[in-house]
Amino acid sequence: MSGWIALIKRELRAVLRERTILIAIVIQLFIASFSSALLIGLLSLYDPDSVGVYARLNVGIGFVGAPNHSLIGLMRARGIRVAPFASLNDAQNAFQRGAIGALVVAPPERAAPVEMQVYLPRAEAQSAMILMVLQDPLKRYENVLREQRGIAVRYDDLRGLPPTTFEYLYSIILPALMFFPAFVAGSLVVDSLSEEIEHNTLETLLAAPVSLHAIVGAKIAAAILVAVAQCVAWLTLLRLNRIEIQNFALVLILATIIAGMVAVASAFVAIVFKDRERSQFVYSLMVLVGASASYLFDVSPIKTLTRLAIGDYFTSALNVAVFALTLGALGIVLILGIRRAARA
């Protein structure tokens, strides 16, 4: 046992000495910050309420039409600056002066279909932004016209919170932070094993009174320890950012189990293929397949993790146990595989 612990220490020392783990942490930080930057950018298109784009976009809209037109109120309710104009010429002049960014010309509401005109600046980026801001008031106005024409629009009065940030946080960021360490753990095991094999240091090691099982086991254990350390760090950081994580312990256990599954599978790959080139290739493909496949099943680790973290009523330790059993099965396969490899 003490020999085995010495082996684990040897692995951990190598990881620390090479400082490569720092790169892995930089990658994770980058992915997290980068994808939230992407999210905020895309949110301003899809879910503008949640990032307050209206407050930031300071464009005046010229309005030509009845002074008590319901669209004026709808636009103002969204924080848009509306300037009424008596005639099109006045509005056009104001646009040329740069006083307003776009114009809306509203005909009387009696017409069978109401044909409204919107004049936007020719610059692509600008006109896309203005149109996005106008979309919501226009949609509401469309519903007003529908009601006038005797169509009752259901679910029009639901008042919730913009959900995208919540969905993204628990179904993308948290799983990414909890499972990327598992991916790193697998890579560590593949590299560490194939390096020993290719540089012929494995034989030297086997000359000492340790078994192949112990060596592989130590490498897996070290990789899992590194993964757990990362997960604990991320969970702590999330907590410090006031992001609530329910079932803290179960979330960490699930992340550890997944790291174990990936590490065991990667050890198996390295033992079968022996060189880094093929092992890394097959391992990367395996991760790709695993990640995609997990979406297909209801027992997906991502889904389970998400549900644990938001405190889902129907998700418990039992769901985590399923993964623990899978890890156990994988472990047995690996032990049998090593026995065969050792005999060969």
Partner: protein, 573 residues
């Protein structure tokens, strides 16, 4: 040429040997499985928040066919009780939606609202006649702003309420409805400048987020990145088996070795690109033109990995970092196609345009392509200088290796010319690095972004200009302060010439943002030249005369540079 082909054949043999025997069928099976599963997983992109909300359903509520909702059929009373007991997030009974007032329930309600709105629209569409169901049509027109404030407006046709009769907008509505039925989703509103007018229906439009096209465009990048594992391994193999000395003693140049090893992968990249273009019905020559610079860029990065690695773990993590950064650099801007002109910094944007059937000009093509090809050229040159046993075999800290590499890149017999050229040639790398910063920075709060981006940009520039000088100082090729100042001047000059050349290509595309003005240093020629000279001199003199360690010397220069940038940015405001 013959030597290159020989090396290429040798590389193919190496790969064949690697993947012959028992491993190959397994690999192929896994590969095919991976592709099939990925295609399936990405078939519809509704993976965000799968199974996040538990919704109770009774009565004739619309079916919840969205992966985010996990519906549960219950009686009304029990459903509401479950909501109150925090087991369900909301309960729908026909027109009635029951929820709690806490965040989790309100998020579910927010998601439900968006989903039900769409269902409701479908119901209205199928129940009522078109004129009543869609009573509002909006005609989009475009206006040119006044060319010069003060000058009289050009004789533009006066804007008058066009008398388009209902049939015109009816036709547009029918076309949009048909598109929804054909594609199963809402049409994106696209600002199309080729036609002057466009009719949109507010409830039928979605923002122009090019998710699907970006994913398709990314399909081109995946095989290139994957194949790079082998390209990198090829050099690692030579190193492990210590055959490089042998290879280099043959009448063959390092350039021939690199090109020869790259050739099979380049051919693979061409075939893969053509194949993907063919199967997604895109024009093959255009796809090749768009992705050739990207392929070269990816090869450039993966050529550097084996030159700098010390252990296997190094290789894995350096590759991972390279992949993450390039992926971000390629995908992020393309997501904003048609919304922000900075999107053109990524070649994927051109691919998105291609798939949308939109056109782009030579300038839009060169904006992403030119820096990538230039980086490839630099990487190739660096590869030829660094491909020697002594550099490859040393196990030293990564910073030490970088310093050695910079020294090897310089021609020691002509230090002045080398330093000026180096500062000139690193421009594309500096530029790409700054574009990445800009892309990320535009999404942060304004004041925070400005400060962060200015400091980061200054750091990149100062390192780029002074690294060659520092390497020469360390190797004692230059010793006197006068020499250092002369080098600093030449470095500043080379950098400025490169910067200005770059500006010629990019200024019209990115000049819109105030920040880019500060980053790319628009303004007079003399002021930036003096500024560059001063900052680089600070690093050189502190390092050579006062023996201040290089990182600290750079920090001092960066502070000066950031302050200068702040003044420039302030002046532009």
């Amino acid at each position: 040429m013959k030597q290159i082909l020989t090396i290429a054949l040798r590389e193919i043999t190496r790969l064949r040997r690697r993947f012959s025997g028992g491993a190959s069928p397994l690999t192929v099976v896994i590969l095919l499985g991976a592709l099939a599963l990925n295609a399936y997983a990405f078939r519809d992109l509704a993976v965000l928040g799968s199974g996040l909300y538990r919704i109770g359903v009774s009565g004739d509520a619309p079916a919840l066919q969205d992966a985010r909702f996990a519906p549960l059929a219950v009686e009304v009373a029990r459903g509401r009780a479950l909501v109150d007991r925090y087991a369900l997030d909301a309960h729908i009974d026909g027109d009635d939606v029951y929820a709690r007032r806490d965040d989790k329930s309100l998020y579910a309600l927010g998601a439900l609202k968006k989903y039900l709105e769409k269902q409701e629209l479908a119901r209205i569409r199928s129940t009522f006649e078109m004129a009543r169901a869609f009573p509002l049509r909006v005609e989009i027109n475009f206006l040119d702003p006044a060319p010069n404030p003060g000058s009289p407006a050009p004789a533009e046709p006066p804007i008058a309420p066009t008398t388009t009769a209902a049939p015109a907008s009816d036709a547009a509505l029918t076309a949009q409805l048909k598109k929804i039925e054909d594609e199963g989703r809402l049409p994106e509103f696209r600002i199309d400048h080729t036609t002057d007018k466009e009719i949109i229906i507010p409830s039928l439009m979605t923002p122009p987020a090019p998710f699907a096209q970006v994913i398709v465009a990314f399909l081109y990048i995946m095989p290139m990145t994957f194949i790079s594992i082998f390209f990198t391994s090829s050099f690692m193999d030579e190193k492990i088996n210590r055959r490089l000395t042998l290879l280099l003693s043959a009448p063959i140049t390092p350039l021939q070795i690199i090109i020869g090893k790259m050739l099979p992968y380049a051919i693979f990249a061409v075939i893969a690109t053509a194949g993907i273009a063919f199967s997604t019905r895109a024009p093959i020559p255009l796809a090749l033109a768009i992705f050739a610079p990207t392929a070269l860029f990816i090869f450039a990065i993966y050529l550097m990995v084996p030159l700098f690695y010390r252990t296997f773990k190094d290789t894995t993590f350096i590759s991972m970092l390279a992949t993450t950064l390039t992926t971000a650099y390629l995908i992020f801007p393309a997501m904003f196609t048609g919304i922000n002109d900075l999107a053109y910094m990524s070649p994927l944007t051109l691919a998105v345009k291609m798939y949308r059937g939109e056109t782009f000009g030579l300038r839009e093509y060169l904006f992403p392509a030119a820096p990538m090809v230039l980086i490839f050229g630099i990487s190739l040159y660096a590869g030829t200088r660094l491909l020697n046993e002594e550099f490859l075999m040393g196990y030293r800290p990564i910073t030490r290796k970088l310093a050695d590499a910079i020294f090897l890149l310089l021609d020691q017999s002509r230090p002045y010319l080398s330093v000026a050229l180096m500062s000139f040639l690193v421009i594309p790398i500096v530029y790409v690095a700054q574009l990445i910063l800009l892309a990320i920075g535009t999404n942060l709060p304004m004041s925070f972004m400005l400060a962060g981006a200015l400091i980061a940009a200054a750091t990149i520039e100062e390192i780029a200009k002074s690294m060659g000088i520092a390497a020469l100082i360390e190797a004692r090729v230059v010793t006197s302060t006068r020499q250092v100042l002369a080098l600093a001047f030449l470095s500043a000059l080379g950098f400025l010439v490169g910067e200005k050349l770059l500006l010629l290509v990019s200024v019209t595309l990115v000049s819109e943002t105030m920040l880019s003005a500060a980053l790319f240093n628009t303004g007079f020629v003399l002021v930036p030249l003096i500024a560059h000279f001063i900052f680089t001199s600070i690093v050189g003199v502190l390092n050579a005369r006062f023996r201040l360690r290089y990182p600290f010397a750079v920090i001092v220069a960066v502070i000066a540079h950031a302050l200068y940038n702040l003044v420039i940015a302030g002046g532009l405001r």
